[in-house]
């Protein structure tokens, strides 16, 4: 039994933590979020140089051959900085699909640039009617000529406006809720018939609505076998859930620790606020919830590393707990900061908003409790 990071993992954590400390002060983040791109292209290159973009990829692909623990380490530190760069969209989601579907030359053609920071991706999967049901796909793919013709709409696609390539899911056979019959395609956002409407999200990230009208793609745009994308979508979503939980945990640590500090400094009624038991007990509850989340994140990550998708039930448990704890810790942090808590001036407000959005990605607490109980 050992919960310690290996030496390499510890080095990775230290280097991401140092980057966050150096580059993600609140004012810097706000500036980036409000900029043209919504993140820093320079940072993205730094990620490439430091090998972070290659974390989950095999060494023969140019990666560092990391597993779920390495991804967790990176995401948790990103969470502590509210990092804006589209790591989840490009490396975890997009890269997760590509490394499972591409072969030979094409694999090298795409994974190389991705790891070198020259290719950004977005996973255009979710549709409005689906909410979080991954199998609910009505966008269609039909064979035409020597390729495919795609039609449909994808919603809240993170990094959809900046991605060089989109990974689009569409139904090539079967009914709306069938797991069988879903296919994945690589689509150039500049291709005819692709309409991308990009916008900011409440947490300072970027997303897009994507409409596909008779979009013609070549035969080699199909990723994996036609109609057989479900197992890939499932595991990529598993990895996204783990990544989001790790990111959330990093944010929760900041939220509770900032509150512990603030309430000790803030004087009301001639005492530091922590002299009032109603305050100190709630700080303890925040801390307890945080530790529980951490335990379940470790459990989920380790089980996933061992058993892959068979660990899905524990992943759901983790996303559920992170969701409920995120609400409790976030709301309590705001409440105990009083008026300051509801402003954009302190970083905690920004961390709170990120927790809310994480709760809206890949299933909220209720959704995952239902899956856990099923």
């Amino acid at each position: 039994m050992n919960f310690d990071l290996t030496e390499e993992q510890q080095l990775l954590e230290d280097s991401v933590a140092r980057f966050v400390a150096d580059h993600y002060a609140l004012e810097k983040r706000i500036k980036l979020a409000n900029g043209n791109l919504g993140f820093s292209a320079e940072h993205w290159q730094t990620f490439a140089e430091l090998g972070w973009l290659g974390v989950p990829f095999d060494e023969e692909d140019g990666g560092i051959g990391g597993g779920p623990v390495e991804s967790m380490v990176v995401m948790e530190q990103f969470g502590r900085g509210l990092v804006l760069e589209p790591y989840l969209a490009t490396v975890i989601l997009g890269g997760g699909v590509l490394r499972r579907t591409l072969e030979g030359e094409r694999r090298a053609e795409l994974l190389g640039p991705l790891i070198e920071g020259k290719l950004q991706l977005a996973f255009a999967h979710s549709e409005e009617q689906a909410r979080w049901d991954l199998e609910d796909v009505v966008s269609s793919a039909r064979q035409g000529g020597d390729g495919w013709v795609l039609n449909g709409s994808k919603t809240v696609v993170y990094n959809g406006g900046n991605a060089d390539l989109l990974i689009v899911s569409a139904r090539s056979s079967g009914g709306q809720m069938d797991t069988d019959g879903i296919s994945l395609f690589l689509v150039d956002p500049k291709a005819n018939g692709v309409e991308v409407q990009a916008y900011p999200t409440v947490d300072g990230l970027r997303a897009a609505e994507i409409k596909l009208t008779d979009v013609k793609v070549a035969g080699d745009a199909l990723l994996g076998a036609a109609g057989k994308a479900w197992p890939i979508i499932e595991v990529v979503a598993d990895e996204a859930v783990l990544a989001l939980c790790a990111e959330a945990l990093g944010g929760l640590e900041v939220l509770y620790k900032d509150t512990v500090q603030y309430t000790q400094e803030r004087q009301q009624f001639g005492h530091p606020m922590t002299d009032f038991q109603t305050v100190s007990h709630r700080l303890v509850e925040m801390f307890m919830e945080y530790e529980q989340c951490k335990s379940l994140l470790y459990r989920a990550t380790m089980e996933y590393a061992q058993n892959g998708h068979e660990a899905a039930r524990t992943l759901s448990a983790c996303k559920h707990l992170i969701g409920t704890a995120g609400k409790f810790i976030g709301e309590t942090a705001v409440q105990l900061h009083g008026g300051m808590g509801v402003t954009e001036e302190l970083r905690l407000g920004h961390f709170f908003k990120r927790q809310l959005v994480i709760e809206s990605q890949f299933g909220n607490a209720d959704f995952h409790l239902e899956k856990f109980a099923a």
Partner: protein, 391 residues
């Protein structure tokens, strides 16, 4: 026990409905003019523009039941915007503690809604512990004016306000509740600097206000020097009873049900989702209880009794329920809670829902944070003697 409205009450309700219908805003109308006309017409109804004012000052003299009906009906109607600071807050203080001259000078404009007020209470170091405020007011040697220096924070609508009612410290030697003086002065003058505070949803309604050598004539002081805390406390109690918002919550809950019905989930709607339904139902149960808590409180007032213990929980429960409705609305939007910046993606209510939720977090902070409210209930209602508490 009887929960039926009397024939007179029903008649009153019909009159209110008829009034709202007859004076509703029509598309294309000049809003500002419609607003002033609306209040004028309400005044002609017999003081409907100032429902809570005593009859001596032109109020309608309604029974508690009539007030309840009014609140219920206004929650559904489209009323002109109105800030609470004038009619609801400073006016009662001027009526109770101001002199005849001040009443004549300030009340007519407040009533006509032609002058906007803001409230200068909280300070950077004085939030829940309001009485520790430090903004200094020094009387000039000739006794003709005060010189005000200091800072206020969370001052809602200070950037559009014409006047401020302000708690200032004229004496720091005694107990902190003593030595506080209540002053009124214009906002648009030298020495007053208003800086916006951007709140979580990115909107601007609160501000910090800095005073540098602001001259306030002594005739703008309400009541006696050093008695401002007593005057403000009466108002704070008033503020605490107005915030349950039961009628508005009932309307909001109905709206939420409708909205959830428009959210697709596969081939059905979110209303068929068992966990969402359970949360909606739980909210409705709590709100049904709160509605009758408010009615019990009203019934006591109607029969001329002192407010009962039940009235102390109205703000706490009311704001908690408002926050839960806001949260559930955001949750109903699912992945579409995130799109921001004036963009409309997914269900129609989505971006507004997130905005409301973020805004609702302040409900348990302003007007006395929930923690302080509970201290007050512990002491005043349960009779618990607290040590080192907030009161």
């Amino acid at each position: 026990m009887d929960i039926e409205l009397s024939a007179d009450d029903l008649k009153f309700r019909d009159e209110v409905r008829a009034f709202f219908k007859a004076h509703d805003y029509k598309p294309g109308q000049d809003y500002a003019q419609w607003r002033l006309d609306w209040f004028k017409a309400a005044r002609e109804q017999g003081g409907w523009d100032v429902p809570k004012w005593p009859t001596a000052f032109g109020g309608p003299g309604w029974s508690p039941t009539q007030h309840y009906i009014w609140e219920q009906e206004t929650a559904r109607a489209n009323l002109p915007w109105d800030l609470p600071f004038g009619v609801g807050m400073v006016a009662p203080i001027i009526m109770n503690y101001g002199n005849a001259e001040q009443q004549e000078r300030f009340l007519p404009d407040i009533r006509a809604r032609t002058v906007n007020w803001c409230q200068g209470y909280s300070e950077p170091g004085a939030g829940s512990d309001l009485a520790s405020l430090k903004t200094k007011a020094e009387l000039s040697a000739d006794g003709k004016h005060y010189l005000v220096n200091g800072s206020k924070i969370w001052t809602t609508m200070a950037h559009i306000a014409d006047w401020i009612f302000c708690l200032t410290r004229t004496d720091a030697s005694g107990k902190k509740q003593e030595g506080i003086t209540f002053l009124l002065f214009p906002m648009k003058q030298d020495g007053i600097e208003v800086k916006p505070i951007i709140t979580l949803g990115g909107s601007h309604s609160v501000n910090t206000v800095h005073f540098t050598d602001v001259k306030v004539p002594v005739e703008n002081r309400i009541g006696e020097e050093g008695k401002g805390w007593t005057y403000a406390k009466g108002l704070l109690a008033h503020e605490r009873t107005g915030l349950a918002g039961v009628s508005r919550s009932l309307v909001a809950l109905e709206k939420l049900k409708h909205q959830a019905g428009t959210v697709k989930r596969g081939n059905s709607s979110l209303l068929d989702d068992p966990s969402f339904r359970a949360k909606l139902a739980k909210l409705e149960v709590d709100l049904q209880a709160l509605e009758f808590t408010e009615l019990r409180s009203l019934a006591r007032a109607a029969s001329g009794q002192q407010p009962g213990p039940e009235s102390s929980i109205l703000k706490l429960k009311g704001t908690e329920i408002q926050q839960r409705i806001a949260h559930l609305t955001m949750e109903a939007a699912g992945p579409h809670m995130a799109p921001w910046g004036g963009i409309h993606v997914g269900p129609k209510f989505a971006s507004g829902g997130t905005q409301s939720y973020l805004g609702s977090r302040a409900f348990t902070i302003y007007g006395g944070a929930s923690e302080v409210q509970k201290d007050i209930i512990a002491k005043n209602v349960l009779g618990i003697r607290t040590q080192g508490g907030s009161n």
